[in-house]
């Protein structure tokens, strides 16, 4: 079983602050995805990274995939109340047609105005 550990589990910050959340595993992933989930809704895909060392930016969000493809980070610059939500990382394992996503427990982010 491939386990993904996310940290911190909870994060409460003020508007304008920067933050980083982490996703770590002892397993190597073929891909790593980050999702954001709001209360009462399903997760929404933010980004997919597939190459070790890859960095992707989405406005104020920066995603990095570790060189060994075992870990990832999400950095948010100048957080806004609209960034509030549950951030989930999900590791992808590719076995032919048996590609499967394993989700971490998530980081619950609250950005206070």
């Amino acid at each position: 079983t491939q386990l993904l550990e996310q940290s911190p589990q909870f994060l409460s910050i003020q508007e304008g602050e920067n933050l980083t959340v982490y996703c770590n595993s002892s397993s190597v992933f073929s891909s790593l995805q980050w999702y954001r989930q709001e209360p009462g809704e399903g997760p929404v895909l933010l980004v997919t990274v597939v190459t070790g060392g890859e960095v992707k930016k989405l406005k104020r969000l920066t995603f990095q995939f570790g060189d060994a493809r075992k870990d990832s980070s999400l950095h948010i610059t100048a957080a806004q109340p609209g960034d509030t939500g549950l951030y989930l990382c999900a590791g992808g394992f590719s076995g032919g047609s048996n590609y499967k996503l394993t989700f971490g427990k998530g980081t619950l982010l609250t950005v206070n105005p």
Binding site: K100, F103, G104
Partner: protein, 115 residues
């Protein structure tokens, strides 16, 4: 374009009762997933369909859970009988195919409470 539709959104039942959840995926999406999300946890895959075929049901507790996807479109997930530990959010997702680069689109989920 409509997203993944799930119903009901909320369901409260007594233990030992049966319950069923319905999912209508995005039009044209051949792959359909059912996930279980417990409070404070990430989603866990229960079953994946490619068209009408269940290609991965290794995590589905088959003693009480069953699923079907007749005609390869809509899907139903059933629990019979429900137990207290089944209280959770049941998410349905769909995608054009399996793996990267096929994005999974999630529905809003059905929140089940078993009393």
């Amino acid at each position: 374009e409509a997203g993944v539709v799930q119903s009901p959104r909320y369901k409260i039942i007594e233990k030992k009762q049966p319950v069923a959840f319905w999912c209508n995926p995005i039009s044209g999406h051949n792959t359909l997933y059912w996930y279980l999300q417990n409070l404070g946890q990430g989603p866990e895959l229960l079953i994946r369909y490619e068209n009408e075929e269940a290609v991965d049901d290794s995590q589905l507790p088959k003693d009480r859970f069953s699923a079907e996807r007749l005609k390869g479109v809509d899907s139903t997930l059933k629990i019979q009988p429900a137990e207290l530990g089944d209280s959770a959010v049941y998410l349905c997702a769909s995608s054009l195919g399996t793996g990267v680069p096929y994005e999974q689109y999630f529905g809003p989920g059905t929140r089940l409470t078993v009393t």
